[in-house]
Amino acid sequence: MKGSIMTSSPTFDIAKIRKDFPILSQIQDGKRLVYLDSGASSQRPTSVLDAMDHLYTHSYANVHRGVYQVAERATNAYEDARSKVAKFIGAPSANEIIFTKNATEAINLVAHSWGRANLQSGDAVVLTIMEHHANIVPWQMLAAEIGFEIRWVAIDEDGMLDTSNLDVLLDGAKMFAFTAMSNVLGTLTDTKALCAAAQKAGAVTLIDACQSVPHMPTDVVDMGADFIVFSGHKMLGPSGIGVLWGRAELLDAMPPFLGGGGMILNVTKDGFTPDGVPGKFEAGTPPIAEAVGLGAAVDYLNELGMEAVREHEVSLTAYALRTLTETVGETLTIYGPSEPAARGGVLSLELADVHAHDISQVLDEHAVCVRPGHHCAKPLMRHLGVNATARASLYIYNDTDDIDALAEALVQARDFFSI
């Protein structure tokens, strides 16, 4: 991973990439659409749409049930997607990949299944102040039921995780659930060091990798993680599919999450025997076409190369930090680490006292799509002392023109509200 600042990479042809995303070619009020909300949900290339379309047109049936050829093709397509995802994140086995509805469901799965089996009153779960509500509320719900303590790792002035007292926080903790990259600040965490610290303390780790898996190489074994979760819709895949990866021993020992068809070996009037992983955690008809779409998204990203994706985003983030500060001036605050290599392409912006909603409204007039609000991270927002920010988030199809358009629109917003 390079921290060097480049304006373009020879392997990264953005004009070509943009052609693969039909939605980006639309004109809004005579202006080129500037999509800067991939942190919330990315767009998807035609290859993903085609893969799903192809399944529905030629090979759709329910999976793991039929003996006829079409059903077998559907099952193979679904399981192929599982293998592609496994390989993409360096998972030792495809059976360790559980398809869920989204990352939120994956975290709830771990909280309900692993949490209920392993947490007791008096235990501690450690989170960071940067977590998305998806990695807070499931633990709070369980804490209310079981009565364990939730401890919080703080951040420093630059938005980096403050690990100075991590050993104290981890002492006696059973679970350390943390983000790999903040969806508000863009801060990257040192996942490997955090997993090592947790392991030393005897705590299991869950990494919310929603914002990192789409944007940089991932190797779950190298990280030393126990569980990681992410969502398909933030990585060029469709909505309705998420991923839980867990170490096989942990998954094997966990009780099922949802009960129903597809997750059993046997059912009698007296009870049931659950299937092995991954089936045990995939009750009911799974998101079949969505899995196939996610598989195609993984293919697309592999084609680009995740190193190259990361390089592109570091250089574009560096360009954005520089350009926005220069063009808009003092009135603009950009939250998060100042060093592009320490962060992802998520820029939370504040324009003097103009509220994020009002900024975003003006930006929309310029066909610039950003997200106002608390970004489902209210504890972090409270810590930062802001109610809402306008968040611009970058991906593979964004270029310096998008950043220039954002800068220009921010200047218009500044002038419109005369600050």
């Binding site: 994020a356 909603h357 409204q361 003006v362 007039e365 608390h374 209210k378 109610n387 809402a388």
Partner: protein, 155 residues
Amino acid sequence: MSGLEELYKEIIIDHYRSPRNKGELPPPATRTEGFNPLCGDEIVIYIDVDSNGVLSDIKIGGQGCSISQSSASMMSAAVKGKTVAEAQEIIGGFKAMMSVHGDALGDPASEATAEPEVDLGDLEALKGVVKFPVRIKCATLSWNTLTQAIDEATA
């Protein structure tokens, strides 16, 4: 920028910059909180209702965008000193103005048809919000919170 100017009327910006009746009231005033979970806007409304059923004082706290803050400010000016019944009439009139075919989150393409029966004065400036359906929630947050506060104060 005609669309924007329609939304951000001068009087809206004025109320946003210099909000009226900002602050808190001590107990036994009724204190009610309202949240817009989508954007994190928070509002706190304090009201005093005297023995004659008059909304004798109102204060507004919290944070939010220009639309939610100016709406709250104008609302406070409009209802202060009014009877609960009069205030409720104003609330009804404002909500009617904010609704698109009676549905506050209806089809964004349709024009507002409901004409308020009450004279809303400055509040009419917020009419442009109806054209920006996402922002209707910003404009109505304080009003829904006031309704709740009145219910609590008169319960």
